[in-house]
């Protein structure tokens, strides 16, 4: 599906000198490239490479640094205005589709552009339904448009979101931006989605497609632009490259020294005791997952979104009810509740922006001491002195800024919130700390601090389970990485294969080594 852009054609989107500086971090550095009309253009890069920032700028959510220009079919895009982005025909389908499960397809599509009206204010349901059918016909999908979309197949829900984006009331959608559209899809429905996208492309829509899944890109895209650390690496035609070429461009040929140094520090933990034994964990996605974590060991959990990775951390402490047998040095629990898990020394640190990480309205002090509050009680009263002493200790040892115990959590920066989210569980002195996406939404500096924190605690004998979508986290932190695919534990990476190439390959699971394929059927044995 290669095509040639004749010089006369105006690019669908043309980015010029796009830079964006956040406090303490340059998210984008002078990025310029073009997206051709009616092409599927992949945007690739690691987490933190600037993809999301670029898309947010295109959507008008972020304002770029001075000097940037974006043209849409030759027309200059006023920056920092979501309304203008939409007016120029840019449409966005985010991973969290932005559709409402309780409403029908007809209603969801009307949410985008308003209802058809007649007699002044009354909704013209017939016209609205006709429009819905027409849009969905365009995508050649067929389902009942009058049932709540929550009951539809995942790919049909995506179709509703795409149809809404393609809604042509206010001029055709000319550029469709899709952010990880397959993340929530079962593999069987991915092909249907691709067919949808190709039909939209055939109708003349340019598609900017963000994904971590290289196989999809190779399948679907015409060209790809690769970002690394905020800078443009290159724009390549998919026909002229291959998987290895893409991975090289994404990760960088010399995978940074920082990552390389990590294995040197690792101690051999094979000899030490088992700190956590997880047996037969079953949740909605996870099937019979069992593994062990040794004292002082950092075990990573990798996998695509949808592989069960995002459920594992919560399931360990019984966040949403799970079936599992857990044994730690302090006791055992079957299907634990968070309270029970806490008792046996197993705690969960959530990413600071996730629900349940910490209480926004409470202060740093109140958040830090909440799990261990019983410790400060005397005759039912909280000993304020002891509480404040511990709070200040964590504020200084984790370098939480500002150094004000009474500051509300909501007012902290993402990195400092994450430190509080760690601190409140470290304060409990757990045996095993489960961290989910520990660096999501934090800047480079705080990321380093969190690495240091985990390494220091691990050196003192605390064990960690790090479930992360971020391969950099996993490679930098972990002694072993367990890989999940379709809810099953399929691979285990020891020091010998601890690199980006092996990890990505194992996560995506295509170019599978025959030996690994065999181990997949017998299911991973935890110990080496």
């Amino acid at each position: 599906m290669s095509e040639v852009i004749s010089p006369g054609d105006l690019p669908a989107v043309s980015f010029r000198h796009l830079s964006k500086t956040f406090p303490g971090q340059r998210a984008l550095v002078d990025v310029s490239f073009d997206v051709a009309p009616a092409e599927i253009h992949a945007l690739l890069g690691e987490n933190g490479s600037g993809k999301s920032t670029l898309i947010k700028i295109l959507a008008g959510i972020h304002h770029p640094d001075a000097g940037a220009e974006i043209h849409v079919f030759g027309e200059q895009l006023p920056l920092g205005s979501p309304r203008d982005s939409r007016r120029l025909g840019l449409q966005f389908v985010h991973q969290a589709l932005g559709i409402i499960d309780e409403l029908t397809a007809v209603e969801n599509i009307a949410l985008g552009f308003g209802y058809r009206r007649h007699l002044g204010r009354l909704i013209d349901w017939r016209a609205q339904r006709r429009k819905t059918s027409r849009l969905l016909d365009m995508l050649s999908v067929e389902f009942d448009i009058d049932v709540p979309v929550g009951r539809l197949r995942a790919v049909d829900r995506s179709a509703v979101a795409i149809a809404r984006a393609l809604d042509d009331d206010d001029g055709a959608c000319r550029v469709l931006v899709m952010d990880e559209p397959t993340a929530a899809l079962p593999p069987t429905e991915v092909d249907s989605l691709f067919a949808l996208l190709r039909r939209a492309q055939a109708a003349g829509t340019a598609i900017i497609y963000v994904s971590h899944r290289l196989n999809e890109i190779l399948d679907l895209a015409d060209r790809a632009t690769i970002l690394r650390d905020g800078a443009l690496q290159k724009t390549v035609s998919i026909a002229s490259t291959n998987r290895a070429g893409l991975v090289d461009a994404i990760v960088g040929r010399a995978v940074s020294e920082r990552l390389a140094e990590a294995p040197a520090e690792r101690q051999t933990t094979v000899e030490s005791d088992v700190a956590l034994r997880v047996e037969e964990m079953n949740t909605r996605r996870l099937k019979n997952v069992s593994f062990v974590v040794r004292t002082g060991e950092v075990v990573g959990i990798a996998g695509l979104t949808g592989s069960g990775r995002e459920e594992l951390a919560g399931a360990l402490v019984g966040e949403n009810g799970s079936q599992v047998r857990i044994t730690t040095g302090r006791g055992a629990a079957v299907n634990p509740t968070p309270r029970r898990a806490k008792k046996i020394g197993l705690v969960l640190v959530l990413p600071n922006r996730a629900a349940g990480a910490a209480t926004k309205e409470l202060t740093i002090r109140e958040n830090l001491t909440l799990p261990a509050l019983e410790r400060y009680g005397r005759f039912g009263l909280v000993r304020r002195g002891a509480e404040l002493r511990d709070t200040n200790r964590w504020i200084s040892s984790l370098d939480i800024r500002p150094r004000d115990p009474e500051r509300a959590y909501a007012l902290l920066s993402g990195g400092n919130q994450q430190k509080v989210a760690f601190g409140k569980w470290l304060n409990l002195d757990p045996l095993v700390l489960v961290a989910e996406d520990p660096t999501s939404g934090v800047d480079v500096g705080a990321r380093g601090a969190i690495y240091d924190l985990i390494r220091a605690q691990a050196a003192k004998g605390m064990s960690f389970v790090v479930a992360s979508s971020d391969t950099e986290d996993l490679l930098a932190l972990c002694d072993r990485i367990l890989v999940l695919r379709d809810g099953e534990l399929v691979d285990e990476l020891g020091p010998d294969r601890m690199d980006e190439m092996h990890l990505l390959t194992s996560i995506v699971g295509t170019t599978e080594h025959p030996a690994r394929a065999a181990s997949r059927t017998t299911r991973a044995e935890p110990s080496p």
Binding site: F22, P82, D179, R353, G356, P371, G445
Partner: protein, 365 residues
């Protein structure tokens, strides 16, 4: 490390006591003072008298008890709309027991308080066990309790000589001209305030109220906290019913209904005091008597009957409105700040607009 963190620009440190006395901290006290001044000028011959103070204290003590009754439920994120019904029912039960049994007054009072605990447990069953939204569940309880108060009383005001005896001293006993219920209010205010600010349970109440998910993951027994809060509301509500019956030496079916909305007004207004956005005992009681002073002043000034309620409603809207704007996450306030400190806004600040929420999901993959 230093590259990553941008510590928010610190406010210049105000002297501690100055901050304590700032309008932002105790605005209601200043408004209260203003109300007193206005009425002292408006009705100089009636308002600025000791008698007025005693009357306000006497008239609004039941409101104070009702407001304290709902404090723990709303602080813990549930709701108790049944407190009016609890007051009605317990008053009538108390009167019925006084007349139809020979039980000593103390036992009667204890049994009545027990009935309040029963109402609280029923609420807890509906809200915590059956997971009915608290407003709906407790409104239903209100209806039921009110209807029961009619049933128990035979839809008649219960009076008897026995209720004017030693029983009436429970509310009519005077100390320095003040009737005793104001002491109950102050005592309960200190007790609940102490529980909320000084005990682990109080911390859990707030933790559950702000974010039950965080509390649950932290190992807090969320259901127990909610249950306890609702039972406390039933208990205090029943006590208010007993005091009401003693105060008027009779018990009227539906007698407690008028206390519900003023109680909520006071609790929400009180939450704007001291630590912004937190329901607290002292602020609630200040609000009760601030609102009471205004209402009583209006009556003394001969204003029409409907004006006190208008005053109460406006005061509530004004107080909550001002707090909302002070809230760091409020849209208006955010724009304000953004305009002032353009550079210091970190990415994490803008998490709650729909667009950025959707986009944030993209970041986290």
């Amino acid at each position: 490390m230093s590259a990553g963190t941008t510590s928010p620009t610190r406010q210049p440190q105000m002297l501690g006591w100055l901050r304590q006395l700032s309008f932002g901290n105790i605005g209601a006290v200043y408004v209260w003072a203003l109300i007193i001044i206005v009425f002292s000028i408006w009705v100089p011959d009636l308002f600025p008298r000791r008698l007025t103070v005693e009357a306000i204290a006497d008239n609004f003590s039941i409101s104070g008890l009702a407001a304290l009754a709902i404090l723990l439920p709303i602080a813990s994120g549930t709701f108790d709309a049944s407190v009016g019904g609890t007051i009605s029912l317990s008053g009538v039960i108390c009167g019925w027991l006084m007349i139809n049994t020979g039980l000593p007054t103390t036992v009667v009072v204890l049994l009545t308080l027990l009935s309040g605990v029963g109402v609280g447990l029923f609420n807890a069953f509906a809200v915590v066990a059956m997971r009915i939204p608290p407003l709906i569940a407790t409104l239903a309880t209100w209806l039921i309790a009110d209807a029961l108060s009619v049933a128990v009383s035979g839809n008649q005001t219960i009076t008897a000589p026995r209720m004017s005896g030693s029983f009436s001293q429970l509310a009519q006993h005077q100390i320095w001209g003040f009737t005793i219920p104001i002491l109950y209010v102050l005592f309960l205010m200190l007790l609940l305030g102490g529980v909320l600010t000084q005990t682990a349970s109080g911390r859990y109440v707030y933790a559950v109220g702000f974010d039950p998910q965080v509390a649950r993951l932290a190992g807090v027994r969320v259901k127990l906290i909610s249950t306890g809060a609702l039972v406390s509301a039933g208990l205090i509500g029943a006590f208010a019913g007993v005091v009401l019956a003693s105060r008027v030496a009779s018990a009227t079916p539906n007698g407690g209904d008028s206390y519900l909305l003023p109680a909520f007004a006071a609790a929400f207004l009180g939450a704007t005091q001291f630590r912004a956005k937190r329901f607290n005992a002292t602020g609630t009681i200040i609000a009760v008597f601030m609102l009471g002073t205004g209402q009583y002043g209006l009556l003394l000034a001969g204003a029409p009957q409907w004006t006190p309620n208008v005053f109460q409603g406006l005061a509530l809207v004004a107080a909550i409105g001002l707090t909302q704007i002070r809230d760091p996450n409020h849209a208006v306030a955010r724009k304000w700040r953004a305009a002032r400190t353009k550079t210091a806004i970190s990415d994490a600040d803008a998490t709650d607009t729909p667009e950025s929420l959707a986009a944030d999901d993209a970041v986290s993959t």
